[in-house]
Symmetry: C2
Subunit: 283 residues, 2 copies
Amino acid sequence: MDKIDFNISIVGIGLIGGSYAMSLKELSLGKIYGIDIDEKALEDAETMGIIDKGYVSPEIPLKDSDLVIICLYPKSVKKFVMDNIDNFKTGAIITDVTGVKTKILDEINYGLREDLDFIFGHPMAGREEKGLKFSSKEVFKGANYIITPTNRNKCENIKLIEDIIKKIGFKNIMTVTPEEHDKIISFTSQLPHVIAVSLVNSNNLDFDIGLFTGDSYRELTRIAQINSELWTELFIENKINLIKDIEIFEENIKKFKEAIIKEDREMLIKSMDNARKRRKEMS
Amino acid sequence: MDKIDFNISIVGIGLIGGSYAMSLKELSLGKIYGIDIDEKALEDAETMGIIDKGYVSPEIPLKDSDLVIICLYPKSVKKFVMDNIDNFKTGAIITDVTGVKTKILDEINYGLREDLDFIFGHPMAGREEKGLKFSSKEVFKGANYIITPTNRNKCENIKLIEDIIKKIGFKNIMTVTPEEHDKIISFTSQLPHVIAVSLVNSNNLDFDIGLFTGDSYRELTRIAQINSELWTELFIENKINLIKDIEIFEENIKKFKEAIIKEDREMLIKSMDNARKRRKEMS
């Protein structure tokens, strides 16, 4: 990427938007604009020097932006695009950071202006905190990024997004269909969050369990410090995949429980050996 | 502790035994003997300089040891003590590292020589690997240690164990009854291991999921790299507590699943907010 005067608007200056601003600022591609309804966040981002200018009203920055990165909750992405459909610069590339793809992609592509290229992406990076003050370039370092191209997307634009993504520190960029994305994410991300929340809610002890745990409980429950509004949207948007995965998991834990009840050592050992092997083989 | 010539036998020179040897060597209390049926492990430990001498036959080192730390699987602890009941030095302190307490404690105390003081302990430290080569002083640094005293134990001996435990890097020493220990450990350690194994075994994807995950799946499944023989013993020994905890967890995940099916946003948000709050409050 040797473009100059390649201006970028980041919509939503929270943890992820702020982290994008910090990371992109270093690439010096062009101006970086912040768009948010929260004036304080914009002021802070300006003070931090991670955006050139912040706007509550999207019209001016969008008309000047070659790339628009929408870092909003799933349902707000479509609304933002449609509300601003006439504001985007001709030929602009748009991308998102949403954790579910199939529905949102169909809905947005349906109403999208012909000249605009929306390339759907999912940075698999986050933190248990929210807001600009937890932003950091480190959030993306070594992380996985999933891209779900459609045949509307131009090759050179996909290439450009991939280029930027690599430059700001992502390690693996995987390309899958939106349907595959939602199936994979249901298992690798949503199910673990459901489990972590359910585990913390199962605590019936009268002790401060932080004093009685090794790393295991701590590790399994870190992500229970969850953004409940965001994840409610994600779970419901992807509920067909997620319910299926929860049920497979329920079946597995039930089988394991029954083996303990029956003291079926052979089955327990087989089950654990299988899990160990599969976990070790994971990249 | 200003004792000198305070000799220690470590029984079982694996990950935990080796880590004890390394940590205790630095305190220079007296001789450190290793006892193991695996001659190679003893030779390696001698070469590494973390024990003064290794023995396959326990008689000689036990007769000379003021403290015996038994780092064996639960069922082997009782057998070792009973097989060697005449070999322990008069007034010796014995301790263990076993992850379940109630049963083992009753069984051992029943047959114990009057002059011996068995102080049951549980270092909440481990790794997903086994064997001496994964031993490290770091294993214990900042970890929790649980002690389950009985009224057979002498105060000064408990004090001495606590002293050593602090010196080798443990952070919190918690004292509870054996029954409380097993109840707590069922939830904070055994249930997380059951969940991690069941989660890995629920993977039906045709992808290398390491390329499609953030930290969540990785964190929730690290402990699925489990020592299946050891944990089969632990799960079965503590099955009454563990089955109860698995069932409470099953109930919670079922409620969460039903809220997703019904798209009950209020209930989902309440459940996640509750989990986030409780997880943040944990020490």
